[in-house]
Amino acid sequence: MRRGPLLLTFLSGAAIAALFFIPHYRAQAANSMLLEWTLVVYAFALILGSISLWNSHARKVRNRAEGWGFSVVTLVSLLAITALGVWKGVGEGTPVDWIYNTVNSPLASTMFALLAFVIASAAFRAFRARSVEATLLLVTAIVMMIGRVSIGELISHRLPGITEWLLDVPNLAAKRAIAIGVGLGAVSTALKIILGIERSYLGRS
């Protein structure tokens, strides 16, 4: 059952990787076309995700599960904004644009702002200078937090400079090594997928 999809993965992966190296305009056009096709498949994957969301909340409403009233809010907002967007568009001045600026944008930024408290409380409970490694992490985090605001300069005029040094030297070295590791890992995983060695993405048979 999986031989066909595995062959399709191999052909599509090998083709797009090969097309990258061919500068001929036909090859580049084929490259762009295949990437546009993936955008379409991605859009349908999002529709699939929304169907799943709809089914999950509709089931709660049908069964009158605990908090089903909130599921009605999700279903109504999902349906209303999708319908408005399909009907009136999503550009500037459209109803969906108004909803985005009034509902989505404030909710998204407030949710992320809330994370400031969550991270702070988690750090307060988890951060203990029990070893050299933990102390380094703790001290760097504190210096970074204080050094990038005005009070840091009031405490010591050297603090902003130390912050910059931490970012530009030890942080850069570690991030660079991580980036190289991630790159090597991504390339080897991609090769394993194209060659059919890695198959877990196809799920269980």
């Binding site: 993965t9 399909v86 090594a177 190289i180």
Partner: protein, 204 residues
Amino acid sequence: MTLQTWIAAFLTLCVFSFLYKDNPFYRFAEHLFVGAAAGYLLAVQWQNVLIPNVWTPLLHDHKLVVLIPLALGLMMLARAWDKGAGIARWSLAFYVGIYSGVAIPGYMQAQIFAQLADAAKPFAPGWGAVNSALVLVGLLTVLAYFFFSAPHKGVHGAGARVGIYFLMVAFGASFGYTVMARVSLLIARVQFLLRDWLHVLPGP
């Protein structure tokens, strides 16, 4: 003060009410956010992807080739039913294959070669050479830590140990940076409430 400001302020307060404890106002905002975000994403995909890449080429330009991505997309929807998993596997295989193929030259160029090229440069003049040397030592020791094909013993083990220290500093810096980014958002929300909604603070 507009209706938009009042709604945005109400939703902001609904989310902040979670700081006291989980409550119906927070759950209302949370569920509204999920539905609104999914709905917006769908509308954007419809207008920006499906209309220009499927609807217009098929119905106006009569390009039958777009039937292929359309068919692959529709096959993806079969996953909504248990028995359709086998059909959806074809779309998934195509999508994963394409992005694996894109990843090989993409990651090689953007991650591996670019980082190696920056690392393999002459040291900066003067005291800058100390920093350049530290970056090189940090890079080599962190790579030594991530090299698991040999046991971390002897010189390799000592290098890996130093690599851990560099990693801890980097994680601490990332943590501090993330906290400050969240605090900036918090300040922006409080500014919105006090300036745009309540007019307690003067305008920008």
